[in-house]
Symmetry: C2
Subunit: 202 residues, 2 copies
DNA sequence: CTCCCATCTGGTCATTGACAAGTTGCGCGC
DNA sequence: GCGCGCAACTTGTCAATGACCAGATGGGAG
C-alpha cells in the first residue's frame, strides 16, 4: 500500500509489492468469473506493469494458481484450528469457502496446479492435519465408526455443501438464509445420534 | 493427405456424425486434463475436420461445454431413476461421477456454461427432479428433519464425496478399495439411526 | 561509492477463439 | 429425376494470449 498507485503517472520502476497486487487482482477475477477467465496480461495491466512482469514472480499461469492454492490451504488450516468441535469445524469450512471463494476453487482444481510444488505440498499438509485433528476431536467412543470413515463423512459433507453453494446449486434451498446456519442444521440432522433420516434398508 | 482416417470409407465432405465425434474427443480431453485443457482447434484436428467446423455445431467453446453439461444431467437423471432408495441413489451419484468424470466436472462449473441455454435448463430440471424423488422416497416419518434439509444433506454428502474423489483427495483414505463401497459405508454411518458420530455438543 | 542481481521492460512467436465469406453436396419439392 | 435450398464444412483473417528472451533499471549490500 506504500506505492503511489493512486497516481497513475508517477509509477516507480519497482512496484513495491507486485506479487501481492497480482494475487489480489487474480483472486478478484477468479471469484467473479472463475479460473478460466484469468489472463496474466490483464492482471499485469491492472497492476500497471508490463505484460511479462508477473512471470518473474510466478513463472507461469500454473505457478500463480499454485501460489493461490497454497495460500488457501494456510488460511483454511488457520480457520479450522480455531474450531472447538467437529461441527464448528464444518461451519468454518463452509465459511472459508464463502469468504475465499477464489482460493477454495483453485485449491481443489489439481489440473490447474503444479501438484509437485513444495510450498503447495507443505500448505496442504497443514490443512490436512487441521482436518484430521478436527475429526480426532470427536470422542472416540464410536465403536463401529472408524475414524477414517468419520473423517471422510465429515469432509464430504462440508465440502459438498460448500461446493454446491459456490456453484449456486443451493440458492433455492437457502431461500435467503445464511448458508452457515443451514449447514449447522444439516450437520445437526446427520451427526446427532438417532436423528438421521433412516434409509429403511437395515 | 486425404486419408480416410480409420473410419469406414474415405472421409466424405460431410463427416457423418461430427457433433458426436467432437463431443467424444472433448470428453476424453476433459477427463484427462480438465476443461481448461480443451482446444476447439485440437478437437477439430482429431476429428479430421477444419478448425472452424466445431463452431457450426456448438457455436463456441461455451456452447460445447453447455451441450456436455446437458447430456450429463440427462445421464445422471437416468442413473438416479434406477435407484431404489436414497442410499443407493447416493451410490449411483458417486458411480456417475466416476464413469463420467468429464460430464460431472462440467455440469457443476457454471462459469464455463451458457446458463440460460434452454436445453441445459431442461436437462437440469430432469436431474433435479430425480434427486428430489430420491429424497422423497425416504419414509417421511422424519419428524424434525425437513425434507429440504434431508435433501441438502444427502446431496452435499454424495456431491462432496464425488468431488473429492475426482480431485484425488480420497486416494489415501481409499487405499485401493472401491469408492462406491466406501461411500456406502460412509452413508451407513451417517444415515442410520443412532449411529452417527456424536459431536457431543448437545 | 560501486557493483550485483532481483525486478521489471519491450519484443517476438506459436497457438487459440471468434468471426466472415465462400464451397460442397444431401435431400426435398416438384 | 432434377434443380435448388440449406445445412455442413472450408479457407482466411484478426486480436488476444502464454511463454520465452535479451536487455534496462535501480535498491541495497559490501
Amino acid at each position: 500500500m506504500a506505492t503511489p498507485r493512486s497516481t497513475p503517472s508517477a509509477r516507480p520502476y519497482h512496484h513495491g509489492d507486485l506479487r501481492r497486487a497480482i494475487m489480489s487482482a487474480a483472486l478478484e477475477t477468479i471469484a467473479a468469473d472463475g479460473p478460466a477467465a484469468l489472463s496474466l496480461r490483464d492482471l499485469a495491466r491492472r497492476a500497471g506493469v508490463s505484460h511479462a512482469a508477473p512471470a518473474h514472480h510466478f513463472k507461469d499461469r500454473a505457478g500463480l494458481l499454485t501460489a493461490i492454492a497454497a495460500e488457501g490451504h494456510e488460511l483454511l488450516a488457520g480457520a479450522l484450528r480455531e474450531a472447538e468441535d467437529l461441527r464448528e469445524a464444518g461451519v468454518r469450512y463452509v465459511r472459508f469457502a464463502r469468504e475465499h471463494p477464489a482460493h477454495f476453487q483453485v485449491m481443489f482444481a489439481p489440473q490447474l496446479l503444479r501438484t509437485g510444488d513444495v510450498e503447495l505440498i507443505t500448505a496442504q499438509a497443514l490443512s490436512d492435519a487441521a482436518l484430521r485433528d478436527a475429526v480426532a476431536g470427536v470422542p472416540a467412543r464410536d465403536r463401529g465408526v472408524e475414524s477414517r470413515l468419520a473423517g471422510v463423512a465429515a469432509w464430504s459433507l462440508a465440502h459438498g455443501f460448500a461446493t454446491l453453494l459456490l456453484a449456486h446449486n443451493l440458492d433455492d434451498a437457502l431461500g435467503g438464509g445464511e448458508p452457515e446456519e443451514m449447514f449447522r442444521e444439516v450437520a445437526a440432522t446427520l451427526f446427532r445420534p438417532g436423528a438421521g433420516p433412516d434409509t429403511d434398508t437395515a
